[in-house]
Every structure is written in structure tokens, then in C-alpha cells.
């Protein structure tokens, strides 16, 4: 089956599936992205598919921003969820106003 997914930013390593996807489904990214990939997990609707192979501890990007790090290895085409992605601590003091901003 052909499934559509939304990649938001060119730096993103995940995309959001618009339908439930199953292993063997072809997942195509909505325009302007033209790539497609093979799904290797069962992914619920509106959940994330990995666009690249992700190593444990590697940062995961959506909206062009880091949304956390992988707790396990995730294959390209695999399901990314709260079960294998964990958020990080903030460094508030480093985020304060800097004149150079």
C-alpha cells in the first residue's frame, strides 16, 4: 500500500504518517519532498517514521529542531514513538539574552 507522510523541515529525520502503515508499505513524503521509503514497522496514524537509520543516543529532528534522543537503534522505515525516544534536560542559563543575538 502507498502511504503518505509529512516531513516538515529539510533537516528532519522523521516524518508523520497520514495513515496507519505496515511493514512493506511504500511511504511517500508530501511535496516539496519527493523521496519515498519502505516501512519496516506497524506505525499508527499520525505517528512518526524514521527517515534514516538512527543510532542509540542520536538526536531526532522534527520541525527542524531536536525533539529528543533515541533510546534504541531505530532502522530507516521504523516506528519512532515515546517507547524509543526520550526528551532531554534544558540548558536555560545558556538560553538567556546575549547581545550578539
Amino acid at each position: 500500500m502507498d502511504i503518505q507522510a509529512i516531513k516538515i523541515d529539510s533537516n528532519d529525520t522523521v516524518a508523520t504518517c497520514m495513515q496507519e502503515a505496515h511493514p512493506g508499505d511504500r511511504v511517500s513524503l508530501l511535496l516539496p519532498y519527493q523521496e519515498s521509503l519502505l516501512c519496516v514497522s506497524t506505525i499508527p496514524v499520525w505517528h512518526k517514521i524514521a527517515l534514516v537509520d538512527i543510532k542509540p543516543g542520536e538526536e531526532i529532528f522534527k520541525y527542524g529542531e531536536c525533539i529528543g534522543t533515541a533510546t534504541t537503534a531505530i532502522s530507516k522505515g521504523g516506528w519512532v514513538s515515546h517507547l524509543n525516544l526520550v526528551g532531554g534536560d534544558r540548558k536555560y542559563d545558556d538560553e538567556l539574552w546575549q547581545e550578539a543575538l
Binding site: 529542531e65 529528543g68 534544558r90
Partner: protein, 386 residues
């Protein structure tokens, strides 16, 4: 843009014209409900605080109670007190009367000798006030009088893709026309606070945005808790949001892109026009309570999974970008922007749909939550009761 609203003797105009039956504390809430049940045109709220509180809780409760009374949607107030609470009905009435010339009357249950004697007097007063209120006419008001609260709840992955960015674009349009918007839910900035802070109008506001996030985490840590234990919620996770960062990055999109001019404590009224932030919790009902106490005449509420929440003082417009949710929860959903993800129309078209619905609601169209008479209120708490 102009809307048909109710002019008040001071401050912004109302989009509703209500007589509020306001209890001073939890113990007076049920008597207040009985009073409001007798008089068409009144609304009541159930208050969970007002007694046996530490000072910081009392201060917040007082800001919410006075803020509710001062909300532009309220024509007049009937206060119901008990008699032994922290701030009694006379003191609360005087505090409110210092800030407004709108009619305010008050009664005490212990003074009057019970619920029925109190209700007899309060119903009589409320009946007179709704008759006065009914003489008010809607007149043309400028959009600059609007203070729109922004809320999201029951978020899923569609929230950050459709409903929130569309609401954000709508906010930009409203602000460009002179209106003000209030972004809330500090917990749901965490992970995206650095992006939000870039919108600050100056250094002070920039560091306040970072500061409220840091303070929120420290506050929870002092109680031995992590904000990441409850966020994202189980429903968010099921809806495809896996971390607080991912949720927050979607949440902040509903605030649009205009400069943030002020950061407010809970239930405090803005002093500036434009895009403001209020430091509220991620619990929708508590956040809406504080924003309405801060003077918002209506709330735009985006949702992915659907939620019924409404507050009696102000319309809460439910907006979803999830087609299944819109159809499945039609009883509770007002605005459908699912065509954005479906590719049927653009983000701008979605923003215009929200704008049109906000205008209709300002002009008097009832939201689903209003038609049901929902009256959700929760006053946030910084410490246990004593």
C-alpha cells in the same frame, strides 16, 4: 475588523452580557449555583479554593475572583459568601468596586441564616440585574478591544501540523489589525522556549520567557516531580507526540509570529496591546480560568483528540485539524481545519476559517460548549491546603 459587542464603562467591550453569581469560596459555591439556577441570564462558577490556604494560594484565588468580576463579558456581579472564609463577601465586593463601576452586590450565608434566606435575597437582586443587563444593546466595537486567549488540549500530531499553525496565522492577522492575543501553558513551551524567546520585543521579555520555564521546572522539582512525568499525557503519546519537546514545538505555533510584548503572572491583566504570554499550567481548565480572569473575552482552543471544556464567562471555540475527531466529536467541535492536511485548502484558508468563526462568536454566535452551559473552573495551586 469590527464586531458587535457590549460597551462597558471602563476597559474593553464584552462579547457576552452576563450576570455572574460568584462564590467567595468552595463553601458558598453550591448556594451560588442554586441562585443562578433560578434566574435566566445569570451564570455561576464553582470555586475550589478561598479558605484554608497559604498566602500565595489566597493571592491567586483573589486575582481570579476579582478578575472574573472585571471580565468585560460580565455586566454585573452577585457575590455569595459564607462568613468565615479568608476574604469575605464585603471585602471582595469592595476590592472589585475599587476597579469598576459595574453593579456588584453581595450576601453572606452565615449572616442571612442559611442557603434559602441567602438565595431569597440574591435571586431577587439577580433578577433585577438581568433585567438591567437585558437593556444593553450590541454596538460596533473595534477589533483592538479583543483579547483572545489561546489554548490547546488533547493534542495529537495534527495539532502542530494544522490547527496550531492555522491559529497562529489567524493571530498574526488579528494583531496586525490591532487586537491582542494571550499565549499560555508554560509547561508546553519547554523544549521550544528558545524559539519563543526569539519573538520577544526586548531583553527583559526574552529572559522572562526563559525564566518562567526554568522556574516551572524548579517548582515541580521542589515537590520531587518532573514535568516530563505527566507530559506528554498518555493521550498525547497515543496521538503520536513522543516527548515534551515535540509537543511544545507544535504548541507554540498557535501563538503566531508577532513580537511578544509582555509576560504576565497568572490571572493578571495585560498592560500592553499585542501578543502577550501568561504563565499558566498545562492543565487546560486551570489555564483558561487564569486567562479569563486576566480579561480574555474568548478563547480559541485547538485540539487533536477532542475535548468538551467550556467556561461560563467566555466562549471557548474548539478547533481541530483532525478530520476523524471533528466528525467523531461533532457535539464538541466548532471549527474544522482538517482540509489543511488533506490538501483541500491552504494554511491561509484554514486561518481565515478560524478568523471568520472568531468574528461570528464575538458577534454572539454560541460555541458548542456555551450551548451546553459548561462551566469548568479550576484555580491553580502552588501549595497544599492548610
Amino acid at each position: 475588523m469590527q464586531f458587535l459587542g457590549y460597551k462597558r464603562s471602563e476597559g474593553r467591550s464584552g462579547v457576552r452580557n452576563l450576570v455572574l453569581v460568584l462564590p467567595t469560596c468552595g463553601c458558598a459555591s453550591e448556594t451560588a449555583r442554586i441562585v443562578a439556577n433560578q434566574v435566566q441570564g445569570t451564570v455561576n462558577v464553582i470555586i475550589n479554593t478561598g479558605c484554608a490556604d497559604v498566602e500565595a494560594n489566597t493571592e491567586l484565588t483573589q486575582r481570579v475572583l476579582t478578575g472574573f468580576a472585571l471580565n468585560p463579558n460580565v455586566y454585573a456581579v452577585v457575590i455569595i459568601g459564607l462568613g468565615c472564609e479568608t476574604v469575605g463577601h464585603t471585602e471582595l465586593r469592595q476590592k472589585i468596586q475599587k476597579e469598576t463601576s459595574k453593579p456588584v452586590v453581595s450576601f453572606g450565608i452565615q449572616e442571612e441564616g442559611g442557603t434559602l434566606k441567602t438565595a431569597a435575597k440574591a435571586v431577587s437582586a439577580a433578577r433585577e440585574l438581568v433585567a438591567q443587563a437585558s437593556m444593553q444593546q450590541r454596538v460596533l466595537c473595534d477589533v483592538s478591544e479583543i483579547l483572545l486567549g489561546l489554548e490547546c488540549g488533547g493534542s495529537d500530531a495534527t495539532s502542530g501540523l494544522a490547527a496550531n499553525p492555522a491559529l497562529g496565522l489567524c493571530c498574526d492577522r488579528l494583531i496586525d489589525e490591532g487586537a491582542s492575543t494571550m499565549l499560555s501553558e508554560t509547561i508546553e513551551f519547554i523544549g521550544a522556549e528558545h524559539i519563543l524567546a526569539r519573538r520577544a520585543i526586548n531583553k527583559e521579555v526574552h529572559d522572562q520567557i526563559i525564566g518562567i520555564c526554568k522556574a516551572y521546572e524548579e517548582h515541580l522539582a521542589s515537590a520531587g516531580q518532573s514535568c516530563r512525568a505527566g507530559q506528554p499525557t498518555p493521550g498525547n503519546k497515543e496521538g503520536g507526540l513522543s516527548s515534551l519537546e515535540e509537543k511544545s514545538l507544535g504548541c507554540i505555533k498557535k501563538g503566531g509570529s508577532r513580537p511578544i510584548v509582555e509576560v504576565l503572572a497568572e490571572a493578571v491583566r495585560p498592560t500592553k496591546q499585542g501578543s502577550v504570554i501568561m504563565d499558566t499550567p498545562g492543565y487546560d481548565i486551570a489555564s483558561i480560568t487564569s486567562m479569563v480572569a486576566g480579561g480574555c473575552q474568548l478563547v480559541a482552543f485547538t485540539t487533536g483528540r477532542g475535548t468538551p471544556t467550556g467556561i461560563a464567562l467566555a466562549p471557548v471555540l474548539k478547533i481541530t485539524g483532525n478530520r476523524d475527531t471533528y466528525q467523531h466529536m461533532l457535539d464538541n467541535m466548532d471549527t474544522d481545519v482538517s482540509g489543511i492536511i488533506g490538501g483541500e485548502y491552504s494554511l491561509e484558508d484554514g486561518a481565515n476559517r478560524i478568523y471568520d468563526d472568531i468574528l461570528s462568536v464575538c458577534n454572539g454566535k454560541l460555541t458548542k460548549a456555551e450551548a451546553f452551559g459548561f462551566s469548568d473552573v479550576c484555580i491553580d495551586h502552588v501549595c497544599r491546603f492548610v
